[in-house]
């Protein structure tokens, strides 16, 4: 073994640690931005309540991480954070359960399909948005006995808009390599 190769072996873990730390910090910051964005964006830009940045982040993490356990925990974290900013009349855990399932299923899908294609990503985002909205509506009806409206057509349109937003967002996240090595 030459000296050059031994130096490379010594340097590489340091770079990986730095990359790993950057990924963790970037992920936390992006999650925070997504939640604050959902909290504040409708004040800045009216009629943007349909934008689900936390959901898109959960889907992306699940698709690119290829780990169901990590994805479900990430989804649970994001969902519980959203629940804590929800109206106090709603108990904590509604979004937590929903996004836990989204993260898990997104990671499960990524194990069977090639999710690098933008078309597949758009379709999956549309599907998961619809699943997320419908499952949340079912939980509020079943668990809380609250009757809230559910418009499939409107949900579909919002899901399509979120899917369009997801294309550039996922490309940016790909460049940042937030999800880490798969």
């Amino acid at each position: 073994m030459t000296e050059a190769s031994s130096e490379q072996l010594l340097r590489r873990p340091v770079q990986e640690i730095w990359t790993s730390r950057f990924q963790v910090i970037a992920l936390v910051v992006l999650t925070l931005i997504a939640i604050i964005g959902k909290f504040y964006l409708p004040r800045l830009l009216p009629h943007t309540e349909w934008l689900e940045l936390p959901l898109l982040l959960t889907v992306y993490f699940g698709l690119m991480r290829h780990s169901q356990i990590q994805a479900l925990f990430f989804g649970a974290f994001v969902g519980l954070a959203e629940d804590s900013l929800a109206p106090a009349t709603l108990p904590i855990g509604m979004y937590g359960i929903t996004k836990t399932l989204v993260g898990y299923f997104a990671a499960a899908v990524s194990l069977r399909f090639n999710v690098e294609s933008s078309v597949i990503r758009v379709i999956l985002c549309l599907f998961f948005y619809f699943f997320h909205a419908f499952f949340y509506w079912v939980m509020r009806r079943a668990l809380l006995a609250q009757t809230i409206p559910f418009d499939p057509q409107e949900t579909f349109v919002h899901g399509a808009l979120n899917s369009l937003i997801a294309i550039p967002l996922f490309l940016i996240l790909d460049k940042m390599k937030v999800s880490g090595p798969s």
Binding site: Y40, R43, L80, P87, Y104
Partner: protein, 401 residues
């Protein structure tokens, strides 16, 4: 067993996490407990950043408006002056109303008009649940805000405080599907419940027999123990007979989701529902213009105040009698010494008047009649001139009682 768990490790973890959250959720529903600690931490972590973003946005927009966008400043200034004048008139009107309150009923009515004790707040963020209509305001328990109190704007109601934190509060908007408000119509005093869902608001619990017209205003009835009675809610935009209950659609007068500044009602005061239309009520009620002087037909016949007025009036009478219009082209000089002019009783008859305006006459001039004065009234104790001490006959004397 271990092999089974190892084989289905992912699914097992999923089930455990979901069941744990379900149990936690069921615990909250069962105990009706608000997990305050988690919410306080989350809100305290997020709202400062939202406040910073809001401050940056407001300052940036303000800077641009102050230094670059000055196109509408003059128009805004004119409009603000107009509004200021209107408010001044309203202020004068209410001051006069207070000053002229003669009996206890008027005083009671005025006391009923005293607004509730409120505190102003600014909306800084929305809820993270798209289907739940809630916002955060920048006033919290440190400002005296408590759960369940009303939030309004001058245009209409906004919602109620659903959670309070040290520096911020959460307001559940009236447009939330789970929120109901007790309201009452203006004319028929028909009671109902305001329910909003999917961007549309209806008035529920109104019988088909009750009379509600399109365009009729609804006000808070105070029966929900949240909103004081008498706040405007909205106008009935459509009224139809339904199955047992009437279908009344309501368009809200305020914009609960679009408001930026709101008032939190710390101590609500119930008010009577106004009987006049809201649009007219917003303007100051002014008295009709005073009748014209000189009779009901509006013909003015002003009383001469000075000698110049008397001369002018006499010349106008001469011109009228001789059918002469002053300043008209081709009109002859009128005779200013007509025989038919009847002298004023008590006034000396002039021996000869000058034929030319402004020319002096050798004949003695008639004594000038002292006009009745409405001059300044001297204060009590001020030195006064005796009538006999007046040496100049033409000097005007103030008239004292």
């Amino acid at each position: 067993m271990e092999a089974l768990l190892g084989r289905y490790r992912n699914l097992t973890v999923l089930v455990v996490v979901v069941v744990a959250q379900l149990l936690y959720l069921a615990y909250q529903v069962k105990t009706n407990g608000d997990e305050r600690l988690i919410r306080v931490w989350a809100v305290t972590a997020v709202t400062p950043m939202a406040g910073i973003v809001e401050a940056v946005r407001g300052n940036t927009i303000g800077f641009l408006q102050d230094y670059f966008i000055l196109l509408d400043v003059r128009e805004q200034n004119r409009r603000l002056k107009s509004d200021n004048d209107k408010l001044r008139m309203e202020n004068v009107y209410f001051r006069n109303q207070l000053a002229t309150a003669e009996n206890a009923r008027a005083l009671t009515m005025f006391q009923a008009q005293i607004p509730s004790k409120t505190v102003a707040a600014r909306i800084i963020g929305n809820s993270t649940v798209a289907s739940a209509k809630a916002v955060f305001i920048d006033r919290g328990s440190s400002s005296g805000i408590e759960n369940g109190i009303a939030v309004v704007t001058p245009e209409g109601i906004v919602g109620k405080v659903s959670a309070t934190y040290p520096l911020v509060s959460q307001v559940l908007l009236v447009t939330d599907p789970t929120f109901g408000v007790g309201i009452e119509s203006q004319k028929g005093r028909v009671h109902g419940v305001l329910n909003c869902s999917a961007g549309k608001c209806i008035v529920a619990q109104i019988q088909n027999e009750d009379k509600v017209d399109v365009g009729e205003w609804f006000f808070t009835s105070g029966e929900d123990r949240i909103f004081p009675k008498g706040f405007p809610v909205g106008v009935a935009s459509a009224v139809q007979l339904g199955q047992g209950m009437k279908d009344v659609k309501l368009s809200l007068s305020g914009a609960p989701g679009g408001a930026e500044e709101v008032l939190v009602v710390l101590q609500g005061v119930h008010r009577d529902i106004p009987t006049v239309p809201v649009v007219e009520r917003s303007n100051a009620t002014l008295l009709p213009p005073p009748p014209a002087e000189g009779g009901p037909n509006g013909q003015q016949n002003p009383k001469p105040q000075t000698e110049a007025d008397k001369i002018l009036q006499r010349y106008a009478q001469i011109g009228k009698e001789q059918n002469h219009s002053y300043g008209a082209y081709g009109s002859n000089m009128p005779n200013f010494n007509p025989k038919a002019v009847t002298p004023q009783p008590g006034a000396a008859k002039p021996a000869a008047s000058p034929s030319i305006l402004g020319a002096r006459s050798d004949a003695p001039q008639p004594a000038l009649q002292k006009p009745e004065l409405s001059g300044p009234v001297l204060p009590l104790g001020a030195p006064r001139r005796k009538p006999g001490a007046d040496s100049q006959p033409n000097q005007l004397q103030p008239k004292h009682e």
